[in-house]
């Protein structure tokens, strides 16, 4: 493929000795590795469940797991979704956001044990919640499926584990600030607010009737855009200029991107309720917000793609593992924004409503964008923190190709399959059973892509855990400078 293959080099940088670790990195190494390791374990669990769910989907009789109460689709899909979001997405961004803002603010995490405690509580609560889902104790609201007692625990754990980036920003030595910092601060501050309000109005003091649904749509859009979206944007804003060694093109627009993103993201929720029995004005507000979200998407596209398009940026990005993943994510974000704006409009939305299309859009945001960026970040950060190489170049390639192909295939299947399904559903004379049958080839693609993703994740986990184990053996001795 490229020179990295020929020279056999995608192996991480050579061990450089512990002196290369900054004081900042020494301090946050413990919590970072805790978050990272647990995130990868959850990712593996979620991908196994993803394979099971893909096998069941679309099969009336439940596929190979028929008549098994624990593994009904309603349990597996909910558990998979929650593990991917709260297990992988949150733990991984806890780690990355902490590292990023510590680096940018030269922050030394003195009370690392608090973050570690937060991480432990988070993961315990998560485990409990998932077990409860399988036991049939769930709430019926997507991404709030955990029984309600889990909510406050997760919120407290978030404050312990996820609030450090804000502290790091507050304590930074210079007056300057950088786009990544704003986005991470926004993510770390907006999520707990959103989560607590949503818990309150949906599970603890349920609002009446469809107001629950409205609150839920608001929560989901905030979670996806302001946690996954903002955190991943922060990472792209950091890694592209850092690794390319250039400045961001049109950087003076970045504040506009930030504020318009934060401003519009919170309003997009009701766009998921078009046609639902909620007042028309709410639906229209959602449509407008989703369309206006194109503003930050355009600006980030100018920032990212402008930088990648000059002086052979794309080919350099291709030859660097971190950048390969990160720029994959950057492209995915632009696509996501365009699709999100177009398919908020009533005409298109009416076609794809209730089909797999929405899942495809979410996959585009949380996987093709956020998760790929997270992988890229891991290839950059882990060697620095562990001081060793990635054990296997081959596994890096397996990881990239399996996840890239897997995610592209799954998104195409969800989007195109969803569109076709919607077109057929709009014709009342075509029976639902026939529509489902017509979509079965897409279900096949989904199953294959779920397996591909699992393969990629196993490769990633083997590589990462191998590296961490290798480095931790002789670690304790001379790590401090």
């Amino acid at each position: 493929m490229t020179q990295e293959n020929r020279s056999g080099r995608p192996q991480g940088r050579p061990p450089e000795g512990d002196s290369r670790l900054t004081r900042t990195e020494v301090q946050l190494r413990g919590p970072f590795l805790l978050f990272f390791i647990s995130s990868v374990i959850w990712l593996l669990a979620a991908s196994v469940l993803g394979v099971i769910a893909a096998l069941q989907q679309g099969s009336l009789a439940g596929g190979p797991f028929r008549d098994c109460e624990i593994l009904t689709y309603g349990h597996v899909a909910a558990a998979q979704h929650n593990l991917f979001v709260y297990g992988w997405g949150f733990n991984a961004f806890f780690a990355l956001n902490l590292w990023l803002l510590s680096q940018l603010g030269r922050f030394e995490l003195r009370n690392g044990w608090l973050a570690t405690l937060g991480g432990a509580v988070w993961n315990l609560a998560l485990t409990y919640g998932v077990v409860q889902i399988f036991a049939g104790n769930q709430t019926g609201f997507g991404l709030l499926e955990f029984p309600r007692e889990v909510g406050p625990v997760l919120a407290v754990a978030f404050l312990l584990a996820g609030f450090w980036p804000i502290v790091a920003f507050a304590r930074r030595p210079t007056g300057h600030s950088f786009a990544s910092q704003w986005f991470v601060v926004a993510a770390s501050f907006a999520f707990p607010l959103t989560y607590l309000l949503a818990q309150l109005l949906i599970l603890w003091q349920p609002a009446s009737g469809v107001v629950q649904t409205i609150a839920h749509s608001w929560f989901v859009s905030n979670l996806l855009l302001l946690w996954f979206g903002a955190s991943a944007l922060a990472a792209v804003y950091y890694f592209l200029p850092k690794v390319l060694g250039r400045t961001i093109s049109g950087y003076y627009l970045a504040p506009v991107a930030f504020w318009s993103f934060v401003l519009f993201a919170g309003w997009t929720g009701p766009a998921a309720l078009i046609g639902a029995p909620v007042p028309l004005w709410l639906q229209s507000v959602g449509v407008v917000a989703a369309a206006m979200l194109i503003i930050p998407v355009i600006i980030t596209a100018i920032n990212f793609h402008g930088m990648l398009s000059t002086e052979g940026g794309w080919s350099r990005a291709w030859n660097d593992t971190t950048l390969r993943f990160v720029s994959f994510g950057a492209v995915a974000f632009t696509l996501f924004g365009a699709l999100n704006a177009v398919f908020a409009f009533r005409g298109y939305n009416a076609v794809v409503r209730f089909t797999s299309f929405a899942a495809g859009q979410e996959q585009l945001l949380t996987y093709a964008f956020a998760t790929m960026v997270l992988f890229g970040a891991a290839y950059y950060v882990l060697p620095r923190l562990t001081g060793s190489r990635w054990p296997s170049a081959k596994l890096v390639h397996v990881h990239f190709w399996a996840t890239a192909l897997g995610v592209v295939a799954s998104i195409v299947a969800l989007l195109v399959g969803g569109w076709q399904e919607g077109k057929q559903l709009a014709v009342a004379s075509i029976k639902l059973a026939d529509v489902v049958r017509a979509g079965s080839s897409w279900n096949y693609v989904l199953s294959v892509s779920a397996v591909l993703l699992l393969i990629g994740h196993v490769a990633f986990a083997l590589n990462a855990f191998g590296m961490i184990l290798k480095s931790s053996a002789p670690a304790s001795a001379g790590r401090h400078d």
Binding site: R9, S284, Y379, V381
Partner: protein, 229 residues
Amino acid sequence: MNDRNRHPDNNRPRRGPSGAGSEGPSDGRLVEVHSQLSRDKDEPSEGFSLTPIFIVFLFCGFGFWAGLYLTQNSGNFAPSAFDLNAPKASLAGGPVAFEPDAAKGQTLFLANCAACHQATGLGVPGAFPPLVKSIWVTGSEDRLIKAILAGFAGEIEVNGVKYNGNMPNIGAGLKDSQVAHIATYIRQAWGNAAEPVMDTKVAEVRKAIGNRAQYVPADLLKEHPLETK
């Protein structure tokens, strides 16, 4: 612009092996340089860039569109508006569903129809046919609405009596809702007992027949034959 913004350490050879090798600028430097960039935006170093102007216009356009879309598609922010295609709101109270109202219908009837058909609905024997117990009134909605909207000229038979009818297109000058009120009134007054007529139905018929001339009764009956009792 690029040259000025380039990092000083950009020329260092950095064939970073993938997987984290590349050492970019230090983080402090990264922040500082970009912070410099966002401050210097007012003094572009080379010429005049169209991008910002373009973007400002684009965003103003978006804002304008957003306002327009919201005012047109929000059902007057009423809690009971769920459907974009529902009957449009009256200005006062939001899109309340149309209620056929026989009382309003009576007022309209007296003003527009009673001259011929009389307030009693009995018409004038030999000249104007009665509406009471007439299948023309209590039968097909479509036929009745068409008769009101377009009128007809020619011989018709009502309750066994022949009339040389000349019904003017009285409904052409009335609103859908007014026609609906009148039709509802005459279908339910004087002992008539037929279903009310909705304004949407009137609008539908009006759209279907367009601005047509008076019917010949035979044509009207061809479209909607008289119901047998």
